[in-house]
Amino acid sequence: MKRILVAVLLLGLLLSACSPAAPAEKPVEEYVMATVVKLTGVGWFDRMEEGVADFDAAYDYVEAFQQGPSQADAALQVQVLEDLLAQGVDSLCVIPFQPEAVEPVLQRAREEGVVVISHEASNQQNIDFDIEAFDNAAYGRHLMDHLAEMMGEEGEYVVFVGSLTSTTHNEWIDAAIAHQLENYPNMMMVGDKNESYDDAQTAYERGRELLVAFPDLKGMQGSSANDVVGFGQAVEEAGLQDEIAVVGTSLASMSGALVETGAVDLISFWDPAMAGYACNEIALLVLQGETPADGLSLDLPGYESLTLIGKVFYGQAWVDVTLDNLADWDF
């Protein structure tokens, strides 16, 4: 009901033909904005909830909250989305567990006039927009730049992906390797892309083997959050903290101890709180009748100048953590 009122009101304003005396009893609309995450109770999405809470506090005419299934399960997430639709929300910001699984319910949501923004799902169809913290290739190049700087732009390095089938990891690494070949001719990748199966134990074992196989190794770039954890342990045990530069995606809570000993030199990630905030910010713009376009600027670090490709907004919202700013991050 409220949604229809809003739609009518917006249409009225746009056409500037409506009488100003329309629904006088409700001058300021309250938007109900839901964020639906893959899983509740895990550090990553707890952090995102902080961002959603900040968003809620920033606009007094917005009621923003976060929900999600207690188990990582596509069917449960669809259930949560259906319940929210039944309750009547104005916008959904969704981080799908399985993008295809939520398409039907998102389609229904949009038919009912709900604004839908997705995150971490750049191929989602039934959405107004998708927001990604960064473009995968740019992120891969960014990590390679740091690795090259720490290696003095020369020497052998190895790369890790969670699995040869994980798309994002391979996009990061492929872009990084191409960037190295073009800009850092004295560096050389040795071996193949190593698979860690997203497991620190496997990354550790591969790491020990690589240290034996390539005694002149100077650097490593990891992709899954566990890659630098396992590889860093291998480096630390071999006492090579100062000889080998280790950079990669991870979280301060996972690799903080290794950053402290110098075994891991730089970790990078995107802040889920910022992503949650940005996702709702875009939803609000759409709700208010604006059409967000390329170059959109949100008042958030890393989201100041968004690139729009298709329906997907890309930021440059990576966060680099080294020994210097490790203490600022607790998730």
Binding site: L164, K193, L211, P215, E237, L240
Partner: protein, 340 residues
């Protein structure tokens, strides 16, 4: 002398091991570097400890797939308790708690198998899922990272017996190797020199006959599964300590590699056969097969294919050899005139 050796399964495994090692060493001489040998031993240690439990279960004619479930349950629960109580003591307590938890879960397996006389594969498939599920539901599913672990566990991870400086950094032998050596010795001694060990073989050879010969089957099964559980608890704690993390989703999924190692080493799935030396050789063979592919420069896509190939090769050659021996025995039997 040579004929006797030829009939020994262990002899063949050892030959294959030497051939494979020499081949890898020729392609990449760093295979024989101290750093590589120590890191292979470290990996083989974990598999080795689990394989001892698997071995005695196989000898007794059973098959246990729940040991990884027991290991993760014991390790993760122990770490959860210690973290909650802000444990500051020595490394021995975590091993004792984890071992005891493993013993209890193993005894539950033993009771179900012994009292209800159910097939061991079905029971342990059930308890594998039950133990892991119970842990995720009742204990938790959060990952404990290095910073949260008790200090003693972190220090234990870095422990080293002989530390050597090499061209590829420091390397050393981890003390857990001696835990394996000790446990391996006990299992070897029990199997070879005690009535208890005889009862394992007797049960696996022919359960009915063993029972008629006066072996208490229920008691023997409780001992077997209890001991396998105890080893799993200790093995689980070693995994947690060596990798400095309590990840509730680790360990489970590696059971087939370990069973394969024991079978490769000559333990029979049908029961009644198997030895400590053979099993440990099998463990080393699988460890080398899985962990030398980077040294050989094999592309990532091919690594799993090669591991499968190594396992097939390792099992096929001794099988062919035992067929040859059996055929020769059968021929000899036919030649002997039947009397009486």
């Amino acid at each position: 002398m040579f004929r006797q050796l030829f009939r020994k399964h262990e002899f063949f495994i050892a030959i294959i091991l030497i051939v494979i090692s020499l081949t890898i060493g020729l392609i990449n001489p760093r295979f024989f570097s101290l750093a590589n040998v120590f890191s292979l031993l470290r990996r083989a240690t974990i598999m080795g400890i689990f394989s001892m439990g698997v071995l005695i279960v196989l000898i007794s004619g059973g098959i246990d797939v729940s040991f990884t479930g027991i290991a993760i349950f014991s390790m993760y629960t122990t770490v959860s308790i210690l973290v909650a109580r802000d444990f500051q003591g020595s490394i021995f307590l975590p091993f004792i708690i984890s071992g005891l938890l493993g013993l209890i879960l193993g005894l539950i397996n033993g009771v179900i198998i012994g009292v209800f006389k159910l097939p061991t594969l079905i029971v342990t498939l059930g308890t594998l899922s039950l133990y892991r599920g119970a842990m995720l539901f009742f204990v938790g599913s959060n990952y404990y990272n290095q910073a949260e672990l008790p200090v003693a566990i972190k220090e234990f991870a870095r422990a080293s017996v002989f530390t050597v400086e090499t061209s590829s950094g420091k390397t050393g032998l981890h003390p857990t190797f001696f835990i394996l050596a000790f446990l391996g010795f006990i299992v070897w001694y029990v199997l070879k020199y005690t009535m208890l060990g005889r009862s394992f073989y007797a049960m696996g050879g022919d359960r009915e006959s063993a029972e008629r010969a006066g072996f208490n089957i229920l008691r023997t099964q409780l001992i077997i599964y209890g001991f396998a559980g105890l080893l799993s608890g200790i093995g689980g704690m070693i995994v947690g300590a060596l990798f400095r993390q309590a990840n509730p989703f680790s360990i489970v999924g590696t059971e087939l590699d370990i069973i394969a190692a024991a079978v490769l080493g000559g333990a029979s799935i049908a029961g009644g056969r198997g030895s400590v030396i053979g099993t440990l050789l099998g463990v080393v063979l699988i460890t080398i097969a899985k962990n030398s592919l980077v040294l050989l420069g094999i592309p990532s896509e091919w690594q799993r294919v090669i591991v499968g190939f190594f396992i097939l090769l390792g099992t096929a050659i001794p099988m062919v050899q035992s067929l040859v021996v059996q055929r020769r025995l059968a021929m000899q039997r036919d030649e002997i005139p039947v009397t009486s």
